[in-house]
Symmetry: C2
Subunit: 413 residues, 2 copies
Amino acid sequence: MKRYAELAPSQRTIMTPGPVEVDPRVLRALSYPILGQFDPEFTSYMNDTMEMLRALFQTSNQWAFPIDGTSRSGIEAVLTSLIEPGDKVLIPIYGRFGNLLYEIAERCGAEVTSIEKEWGTVFTPEEVISAIHREKPALVLMVHGETSTGRIQPLAEIGKACRELGILFVVDAVATIGGVPVRTDEWCIDAVIGGTQKCLSVPSGMAPITYNDIAAKKINARKTIERGLRTLLDSNTDDIINRPPVIRSNYFDLSQLQDYWSSARLNHHTEMTSMLYALREGLRLVLDEGLDERFTRHRLHESALVAGLEAMGLTLYGDPSCKLPVVTCINIPDGIDGESVRNMLLNSFGIEIASSFGSLKGKIWRIGTMGYSCRQTNVLQLLGALEAVLIRHGASIHTGTGLQAALDVYEQK
Amino acid sequence: MKRYAELAPSQRTIMTPGPVEVDPRVLRALSYPILGQFDPEFTSYMNDTMEMLRALFQTSNQWAFPIDGTSRSGIEAVLTSLIEPGDKVLIPIYGRFGNLLYEIAERCGAEVTSIEKEWGTVFTPEEVISAIHREKPALVLMVHGETSTGRIQPLAEIGKACRELGILFVVDAVATIGGVPVRTDEWCIDAVIGGTQKCLSVPSGMAPITYNDIAAKKINARKTIERGLRTLLDSNTDDIINRPPVIRSNYFDLSQLQDYWSSARLNHHTEMTSMLYALREGLRLVLDEGLDERFTRHRLHESALVAGLEAMGLTLYGDPSCKLPVVTCINIPDGIDGESVRNMLLNSFGIEIASSFGSLKGKIWRIGTMGYSCRQTNVLQLLGALEAVLIRHGASIHTGTGLQAALDVYEQK
């Protein structure tokens, strides 16, 4: 019998667009003993979590709860519950994660139309709104912050146009929630998906979502009680003709998950105890810091990072007018092996930064300043290490200037 | 701004069929700092986990990895990847979780036929095999251990019959894995789903699965690379005519998850770091104890529990010849309010036991002896508390005998 070593992960400085470092208080919450899923203490933690999610999403929606899975589980739960096979869906794509929305919507049986924008920029509201008028979709799906390209898409005008036309507007805010404003109600977004492992600084494993009554109405029209929990009365509702088709997934059926998260507490899955502890604690820390204060903090460390990188002579990728504050994309200097730089940062300095996908692979590095990782010590350590590693790789950069520029930002704040 | 109290869950003695108590060493693993998902340290933990899962499932299958979700996520991943819409599926049902298989298979587009057995007993192999000959399904789906009724279904002969007929045999071993033998290869099971929060004593949040090359062949025939990660070469494979229909879920697409869990490391979701730590540590403890030793331990504490309950004058529910060793179902004595007993156990003694579902609600209590909860101190504390609570509820039971009978079992071992 092979014997496995005890788990002993190294301490890393994680400056990627996620997963990022987790506050020690959240790590501690993960280590607390288990409660049963219907223990009143546990259900009170579930209720706290729903309340705090409403504050996070800046919404008065009734429904705000996590899906038990990684971020894309939240996307799939919302799409598979909202999209009926044959529904026409419009997806404006400006990076990899728009393609993921396409992939998932297509598997839900949607008739998908996409419009595409060159990577490194975003859509003007008019471009999207004119496509909406042309395509007349039932749903519009968009990514708020594209970590693949480091861009952020303005949403308010698009949301308003959708609301006026009676079109459902669904937003993937996995990368932005907790780091930059996501104003669900003000921007007329019908359903939003957040992520835990980025600006919330909770480990990957849950996907907080929220949706309003308009979305809930469409979901509830497709509702069935789980076989094995149905009473005769419930079964009869199945016989109603002209019902929309049943949701294709049990795991992601929001009409059933609502019953689990409401006072009905109708059994569905067994809630992830430890992850729920972590999410509740992570949300508590976010709201304790204050949303506005948190967004300001993210802006500050982004400024210091950018000042340092530019003082070193590095250039940023993409249209600066739509830069995502929590992800900074750097053009890899000519002749430099981007992966070799990343490996040396990790192996010699314990610092992780990211590469990118598709056509950007090998062309840019991506640095995240998200959540608990978004702090002065991390930004300064990274800038110092990057300078040393770039010198070691023979890059022609300005030396001794990057950290000074970042320190200037911190002293002027 | 409302302020939320710090998380401070009570210490419970959890004697339900899950979620059960977690070994402190696993809780500690949950609190370790995050690693990036492609950090070589982290991918080595992923590889360890796959190796240990093969040992747990007693299989030489290449594919053994967790699905990132609660137990039913594993069921849905296997079914949605294996079932093509229109596939004929046979489901022998003898409790609630057989109905869940039906529910999920139906949503996958299967043509489902079920045979049903009175709750409290299981099928003879002949009953299932004759239905297989009659129905000629493409897949047979069965629950190994039904926690809703506390029964265990023998599988070896059914597996052999399916293999001979070229029928895929899929088993839900959520309740049994790590507590009683699950011999994947010996019993000719093509795909098995396990659970973490029961006999493995890892918190709910991952669903370990394994499947063999026969299953993999069917899954791979439906493979597509994720949109946004495809190269031109990959896209061309989409144009092949007469391909079976694409898997309806991206999150649960085993053909994509394989690429993530293999050395290809093709990006899919962001693996749940903390849960993976917990699963790896939990599996390490299981294999360190030894599978056979672990099964024997589960039998011992079941014996002591049953001896104690019967000495008290309580009667067990269901056919004893197919009793699930890790769940003991007790008939609630006439005139006793089962929920009141459960509440007093929880509120006065900090001990949780379970009720059941559907027609058994209010009729039986269910006591789990699973994983880390399955130990002498817990069994003895429960028996003492139950006697006191039953006396307090006016039940006519034998007093002073339950604990003595259990102690006898422990002294004779």
